[in-house]
Amino acid sequence: MLEIEIDGQKLEVPDGSTVMDAANRLGLHIPHFCYHKKLSIAANCRMCLVQVERAPKPLPACATPVTNGMKVQTHSEQAVTAQKGVMEFLLINHPLDCPICDQGGECQLQDLAVGYGASSSRYQEEKRVVMNKNLGPLISTDMTRCIHCTRCVRFGQEIAGVMELGMANRGEHSEIMTFVGHTVDSELSGNMIDLCPVGALTSKPFRYSARTWELSRRKTVSPHDSLGSNLIVQVKHDEVKRVLPLENEDVNECWISDRDRFSYEALNGEERLTKPMIKQNGQWLEVDWQTALEYAASSLRRVTDEHGAGKVGMLAAPYATVEELYLGAQLMRGLGGGSIDTRLRQSDFGLDGKLSGTPWLGMKIADVSKLNAALVVGSFLRKDHPLLAQRLRQAARRGTRVSALGVSGEDWLMTTHARVTVAPSQLAAELAGLVKAAADIRGVAAPAAAASASVSDAARRIAQSLIDDGARAIFLGAVVQQHAQAAGLHALAQELARLTGATLGYLGEGANSVGAAVVGAQTGLNPQQMFAGDLRACVLLHAEPELDAANPAAAVEALKRADTVIVMSPFKTGLDYADCLLPVSPFTETSGTFVSIEGRIQSFHAVVRPKGETRPAWKVLRVLGSMLELGGFRFDSSEQVRDEALSGATGWLPEYKLGNTASDVACATPAAVEGLQRVADFPIYRNDALARRAPALAATRDSAVPSARISTGTAQAAGLATAKRVRVRSAAGACELDLTLDDTVPASCVRVSAGWPQTAPLGALSGTLNVEAV
């Protein structure tokens, strides 16, 4: 420990602390621009100059290491003169037109200029003008305002893992720019907007739509992935104008993904459903709530009476709230045995009833940072879990050995220990190889399923990293969960965990997939059985099976066959198979609760009033329950629903409810597959109903029209080396797509993204495809 005195206050700080760290501990504010606690130290803005006893000149607090007995003055004449001098330099070339700058009101330069700036400028020369840059659809530039703090550059290099912005040229001609002709495409890019202390980088969708002081700040939780990112939603006139991170070091730190940030545009979009509608004689009619609810209730009643509740089902998105899912489950149960599920994308349910609890991360999110080794199996990590990827990236920078076994060789923008990329059908063989390698290292016999597996060098390296001392984990991603051998792959991963001593965890599909399982929203027939069987009545809660089902084509068929399909959604959707649309609140217009992948229970309030006649879904379900005269719907508030649903748990789910250990599940055996296998991902902005409808996200490179992606080698072998456009056929259907050569796709595979109407006719997410040039 080192002793330091700042402005007369003494304290002790750990070795290696800077003067800025020490001041922060004391709650003293030292003016700064380039310093950011999550970024490396650049010490380039010079705003934080302070007086240090016995130093001949002022020193930057952000970069000056504390030495024992150091005495610092942050407000002495020397310090303030230096700070004012720097402020003057920053302002000479900075436009002084705050009233027309989008950053006005939340500009660090503006704020500090009030304290350190002069009332008029001594600078009589011409001001610098810098050309703006096109960084893509999300970030707007006003580069003349840039103060060269390089926070955006360091964010790219260090946090996003890719240097998309850099400072080109020298001296006064220095400019922040991308590589020639490139845009900023990182899935975390919006954080640069927050980091930019001035108005150089601002939000393109938000640009000029409100002044910050007109906005009220409300807290909520992101529905877009299983992490549970804490959000600040900024609201004006009951409209969401902007979304920012709410810092929570244990969850999202101070970041959010672009999906969290920009999906809000869908909330105010044209596609919003604002009035209940029912279809009569093939015509959609807007009706009042009473009519619509009576229609829905009587349809459900009629089908139940005629066909039995076994023919009634509810499909909810995994980002429906605890309250919605609990009441949905009540409704289905109340009807006398209806089914409910959120796992639309899953096709193997062999783990049902076999697990020791609800599948979860297996640890706290914060503990991911402390891992010594991690193996991620079957995940499009950056796109499915952008911030968890970021956490692993930081861990990797500190030495965590991150390995990957998956179906795509896409760059994770972090140092990986080992990577194995294979066709989906080979995941079992590779996992068996890992199990065998682990058994060999441990000197024990491998389980039968892995006894004859072949062990690659990479497998041995991975197994060793999972055995070496320290915290270690195996995470199963969406590809495993959606795999036709999901249960068998789990069994192999569980063997690997047992042999290595690593923790087994799931990365989780949606914001509330853990909550869904806990509140009983996965009971009765599973989605596959519902679609395959004779489903007569179906309630869709936020779910869009035409894009989200494991087999969209089969799902739509089933829905079209049903007598009644009641859509509860914020959006006008399902018009071709539904007969009743009920406008229900998106997460911003209802109170609710998500249980994140680490078992964290996070409740939130509505941040705006429901749009038009929209109503919170939990209230709609409550009314439906009452109309159907089912018991158990007498709640006055969503909090009461939550407390009953979670048996009063707050903060965290009790650990006994969580568990990734399966018993009695056979290990998967490698399936021999002939022909080209489909690799399917849900692109980051095609993953949920909100993201899909956000125009700015739709304009990013991640939302490029889907193509058939194939490696160069496979293309040559299949005679497709020169093909531009191809016809892709599956057992279920066909579509025509552009062909893209992409060497991250494993051999003998074609990657065709799901989540797009264009590719929905192909049906199953897995299986073989026939690809021909057209």
């Binding site: 130290i41 650049a42 010490a43 380039n44 803005c45 010079r46 705003m47 100059l49 001949p56 000149k57 002022p58 930057p60 970069a63 290491p65 230096a82 001098g85 720097v86 003057e88 330099f89 920053l90 000479i92 070339n93 001594r122 600078y123 009589q124 020369e125 011409e126 610098r128 103060i147 060269h148 390089t150 400072m167 040229n169 020298r170 001296g171 006064e172 001609h173 220095s174």
Partner: protein
């Protein structure tokens, strides 16, 4: 090479223009004997550092930091990679000495670096050579090949189990790459931008490893010190200012060029060696240590001796030993405009005071020079320069500020005249006459 045979020279002694740079001539001149002496006598790194300390050799790159002390900072016992780097970027306006060393005596630098490698336990060295004169880089590569073939660098040097390899690296013409940490960034393949210090290169240098950086001329002095002893080197100069120093003399003298003289030699003597003032004109001002050093009026300069302490006492710096001589035909405003333009152009742009301030300084001086000065400009200039100095990441900020402050301090009336009369104090035709090249003198 202006001085054909200079009895006082040790670094440039025994050279015959472009004919004697090769290894055979170098060995004939006694070259590589210092390296041989060390390896064969088993002189320890500690003993060598002690000699270098005794020699009072101070860094020739600008700051004049005692070389022996710098070498002692290296954690030489630690078994990790360590580097020795030679700074031949030589971008300081007025400085043109390292290029002569590299062109006419490259093996001297190689030998000095190999000894430094031995002392500090480095197995690799780099010589960063500026890109402006590409032939220097090519010559150095040739010299390296000769040294390698002769076994003076590479594995198991002279069969004594000492490994040291040396590589040349060339820049592309950015002045800032002469700043030692920008130079390291540049070698690493990054944009040449200075690093914040601490950590210093001795603990966190090239590729994050302990590194010692010295100027070309500093390394070149080492073999002589080994062969003749630190005390002898010190005795060449004066206490705290050991040895000879190569001065690059430019400006209004009859024979501008490179002069190696003992430190402590009176400036007047150096001026005589250069053939005195051109056209017998009056000495007006001298920048004694490269463009970054404060300017001194001629009469103060005539009382100085050419060494670190004397020049520093007079209010300037010996710097890299670039002596820029100005006679009475010089407009000081125009001179400063030229200097300020240089720093404005060469700022790396990373830190605020330098990026913004150098442009401001240049624009103000430019305005004054072009008859648009305002009465309060001089105070503003001085104050802006003060706001840059000492507040930047590297010393380029200081280098940009010192000339401004010193020009205004010593020649304020000339600036005031300019502001008031909108033209130079020195009539333009006089300036023009003064800038004419005297062909008859240039021949000698």
């Amino acid at each position: 090479m202006n001085a054909p045979e200079n009895p006082q020279a040790i670094l440039l002694a025994g050279l015959d223009g472009d004919n004697t740079w090769g290894i055979e001539h170098y060995i004939k001149r006694g070259g590589y004997s210092a390296l041989r002496k060390i390896l064969e006598s088993g002189m320890t790194p500690e003993q060598i550092i002690a000699e270098v300390k005794k020699s009072d050799l101070r860094g020739r790159g600008g700051a004049g930091f005692p070389t022996g002390l710098k070498w002692s900072f290296m954690p030489r016992q630690f078994p990790m990679d360590k580097y020795v780097v030679c700074n031949s970027d030589e971008g300081e306006p007025g400085t043109f000495k390292d290029r002569d060393l590299l062109r006419y005596n490259p093996h001297l630098v190689i030998e000095g670096m190999a000894i430094a490698g031995y002392v500090m336990g480095c197995t690799r060295g780099y010589n960063y050579i500026h890109g402006e004169i590409f032939s220097l880089y090519q010559r150095f590569e040739e010299a390296l090949a000769e040294a390698r073939a002769a076994g003076f660098i590479g594995k198991n040097i002279l069969g004594k189990g000492f490994d040291f390899d040396l590589f040349a690296h060339h820049g592309w013409g950015a002045y800032i790459c002469g700043e030692e940490t920008a130079l390291l960034e540049s070698i690493e393949g990054k944009k040449g931008q200075p690093r914040f210090k601490p950590p210093f290169p001795a603990s966190h240098g090239l590729y994050g490893k302990p590194t010692t950086i010295n100027n070309t001329e500093t390394f070149a002095a080492i073999p002589w010190i080994i062969n003749n002893g630190g005390e002898a080197f010190q005795a060449l100069g004066k206490p705290n200012n050991g040895g000879t120093k190569i001065f690059s003399v430019s400006g209004h003298v009859n024979r501008p060029g490179v002069y190696e003289i003992p430190l402590g030699t009176p400036f007047s003597t150096l001026l005589e060696m250069c053939g005195g003032m051109r056209g017998g004109r009056k000495l007006k001002a001298v920048i004694p240590g490269g463009s970054s050093a404060p300017v001194l009026p001629g009469d103060i300069m005539m009382d100085c001796t050419m060494d670190y302490d004397s020049i520093s006492k007079a209010g300037s710096m010996l710097g890299s030993g670039a002596v820029i001589v100005m006679d009475e035909t010089t407009c000081m405003v125009k001179s400063l405009e030229r200097l300020s333009y240089f720093y404005h152009e060469e700022s790396c742009g990373q830190c605020t005071p330098c990026r913004e301030g150098t442009g401001w300084l240049y624009r103000m001086v430019h305005r004054i020079e072009h008859g648009q000065g305002r009465p309060d400009d001089l105070d503003t200039l001085d104050n802006v320069a003060s706001n840059i100095a000492g507040r930047t990441i590297c010393a380029l900020g200081d280098a940009a500020a010192f000339p401004v402050k010193s020009f205004i301090k010593h020649f304020r009336s000339e600036f005031e005249y300019h502001v008031e009369h909108k033209h130079c104090l020195v009539p333009v035709d006089v300036q023009r006459e003064g800038s004419r090249i005297y062909v008859e003198h240039a021949a000698c």
